[in-house]
């Protein structure tokens, strides 16, 4: 989870300038379903430089408008990440492995915004941090995001998003050669999308 903290720190270091992105944001916005609650399954593959085998993990995620993001890795190790307006908490089993409070770390809110926007496909919000380049066709859209700040690019690399009504996949390429691919599936929306367990976590 410390890595996340650093992403957070890096994002916060970035200066935002407002410029128009070459992203057909309006068209993408029109395609997105943007439900208040959506949950689904993710499959993550990480290929790290210097490691032979890719690292696969899977789990469930929920994005709740106005509240935040719940990210539950189920395999190979159960681990839950909850991002809300006021804090970022990581549970390993029942144990709180990490808690980051917005009161002591003011950038928590900025970070949560970015992650929420990434998962929700809300490109307008990302415009200030990233240079975008994208295309839209009948089936869906794809966007390549490049951080406007060199420091941020060093920290998180470039990001590719693909989607239709929902974000379908996120690919992150780091300068060091590490590559993370997250594919989303079985996305449901509405109150019923959340399991009782997940609702309890929020």
């Amino acid at each position: 989870m410390n890595k996340l903290k650093i992403v957070i720190a890096a994002v916060s270091l970035a200066a935002l300038n407002h410029a128009q992105a070459a992203v057909p944001a309006a068209k993408i916005q029109a395609m997105l379903a943007k439900p208040p609650i959506m949950c689904g399954r993710f499959d993550q593959t990480k290929q790290l430089a210097g490691m032979k085998k890719p690292l696969a993990s899977e789990g469930r995620f929920c994005v709740v408008a106005g509240k935040g993001v719940l990210w539950r890795t189920l395999k190979p190790f159960p681990s839950t990440l909850r991002l809300t307006r006021d804090e970022i908490v990581n549970y390993q089993g029942d144990r709180v492995a990490m808690r980051l409070d917005a009161k002591t770390e003011p950038t928590v809110r900025v970070i949560n915004n970015v992650l929420f926007s990434l998962l929700a496909g809300d490109l307008g919000q990302l415009d200030t941090l990233f240079d975008g380049d994208g295309s839209v066709d009948a089936d869906g859209w794809s966007v390549a995001l490049k951080p406007r700040q060199a420091a941020l690019e060093k920290a998180i690399g470039t990001i590719k998003l693909e989607g239709g009504a929902y974000v379908k996949s996120i690919v992150m390429n780091e300068a060091g050669g590490d590559r993370t691919t997250i594919v989303f599936s079985a996305i449901q929306s509405g109150e019923a999308a959340m399991t009782k367990e997940e609702a309890a976590l929020f």
Binding site: I6, A9, K46, G50, L55, L115, E174
Partner: protein, 782 residues
Amino acid sequence: MTRTRQLALLWLLAVCLLLGHNVYLWAVKRIVPDTDIMALLPVQERDPVLQQSFSHMVDAAQQRVVVLVGAADWDDAKRAADAYSTTLAARKDIFDATPINEQTQSDWLSLFQQHRLILLTARQEAQLRDQPAQFWLDAALAKLYAPFGGPKLGSWQEDPFGLFSGWVQERAQETPVRPRDGHLFVADGQRQYVLLPLTLKVPALSMTAQETVLPLLKQAGDAARKATPQAELIQAGVILHAANASSQASGEVSTIGIGSLLGIILLMWFAFHSFKPISLILLSIGIGCLGALSVCWMLFGQIHLMTLVFGASLIGVAQDYGIYFLCNRLAADEKLDSPALLKRLLPGLCLTLLAAVIGYMGLALTPFPGLRQMAVFSALGLVFAWLTVVFWFPTLIGGRTLKSGGLVRVYGAALRRWPLLRFNRATLVAAVGFVLAAGYGVSRLGANDDIRLLQNPPKHLIADQIKLSKLLDAPTPVQYFLVRGDSGETVLQREEALKARLDKLIAAKRISGYQAMSNWVPSAKTQAERRSLIEAKLLADGGPLQGIATQTGEDAQWIAATRAGLLTAAAPLTLDDFLKTPASDPWRHLWLGQTNGVYASIVALRGLSNAAVPQVLLAAEGLDGVQWADKVAEISSVLGRYRQYMSWVVLGAYAVVYALLFPRYRRKTWRVLAPTALASIATLALLGFASQNLQLFHVLALMLLLGVGVDYGIFMQEHPDRRDRTPWLAVGMSAANTILSFGLLGLSSTPALQAFGLTMLLGTALVWLIVPCFGSTKESTQ
């Protein structure tokens, strides 16, 4: 030409020189009074390293102006802050805005990254000692599989256990200020603020600088409010306090000076019905002031504004000589010529001057540079005024110049009805009553040596200061730990021992954190310990690193490569390396470097409340080379010591004055001193009844009271005959004027000056009332 004329002409020459020098000073050199309130405090030479640390911290703080521009909405705050900085940017000659350098931000980590293996938080170090291998395996795997987990300070392999990122996180929390959108950002529950750190290019304590900077800040504030009407502005800086103190003091100079002059003019008019005596007295005072200023400037090379404030009260004493001469002239036979009259008055006049100068010289004995200057200024002023009276008055005032006014007759008649102390029952009863009442009053006196007595900043400045330090969670520059050692390494090790204790205080919520050089550069000893700890607990065969390889299907080669990669980042980090990088900029002031073979550093505390101080300072106990430094307590204790010390000086001065007067008054000497002594005791008792706390400035006033009160005693003893109203008139006029001038000093909003003024007011009034009771009519008529 008579001798009187010669002397008068000689003095004219001297006065012309003084006048010329003053014109040169004010018009050509354009001198500006010094307004640094700290100049009033003693320079301490007991501990050079401690003093150096104080001035180091103060110098770093003095030229800084910190501005927070806030609004509920971040964009509003940014707009207001931009308007504010644009206004100031036009004056690059005055302000140096610290730029937000993005390059530095991305680069500041690179040095630490090269040494990341030895950078651990205290908690991580404890966990490394206590937690089993499984804990670290779990942590590394969780990080490995975590979402968005790729990049940050480097790849996963560079920091598989997240130790370095935890350390960076802890360092980031040393300040709540974050870069955001090219601004510095800090927030509380209600508002978001842009932080504008400014550095003054002009000296904060110079009055000309203050006159330029303050309107500029106001203009910038107006611009910010125009951009965002609901913007909140919080400003703090030494210059704001200094400017306030200057304007307060300037205001008081004119109030006290003008009030004093008006009082004198009115009194003179009622007494002599002529403007000639008034102008003559003013002439003597004026020459006294000019002379004092000239010589003081030559002696000190500068003049403090507080000296001028205090000097304003000089008017009250300098007039005594002129008044004494005039009153005697009024009473004397018209046929007696003035030089002959002066000859008769000269012994008394000499003694009054001597007594007053001794009184002021008592002030000069204090180690306070400001007070010393005030004392020299006052004593010189008196000497110049006295010389003017002696050299010029006999020539300028003839036997028929003066006529007695109505006030003089009414007042003079009062003397006859004044009680005279005799050795009888009534006196005994009065004495017992006085002893009891005074004893009770004096016993009620507390003492207060708080440094805040020296300055009284307005509420809004204090409120801003409090809010600012709360928002920025910045450490106080006046209370900290000073750590010393014979080498940089020793200092760092001692810092670490101290920090281990401070961590417990953080856990107990006595402080919120600390800033120390060793937070960034651990001692070489600690670095070596950490390296072996990590090698043993994380990298050893069969340890967590091997566990990761097993889980992820990597081989021995991968383990070797990863371990080698990690160990390259275990090279020792030296203090010099760190000090060379821009990353050390915000912390460089903590390192005092080497002074006479002693290395020293500062460990600054955040979130320290006054209530917690007694507990926190104990952390230094028993630690070699660690000392609690508290500038506030230091100054307060100096004030306290000198209050006690000056009390003895006052008693000593009574003895000296008694010895001085004895050859002339013999067995009646006690009659000269007793009124002043009794008035001083009564004043203390009254202060006690009013529940006042005794401070240095009360005692200093008692010293001065001795100088003034002895004058009255001498006047009365020089003319023991009760039918002679002359001394009574001189005492009354002089006391009334002293009360007017010092009473106005009692109106000062600076607590110290107020205490001084109040003591003088009570004391002078009491001496005036008591002095006729100690007349010795009986013996004198023989």
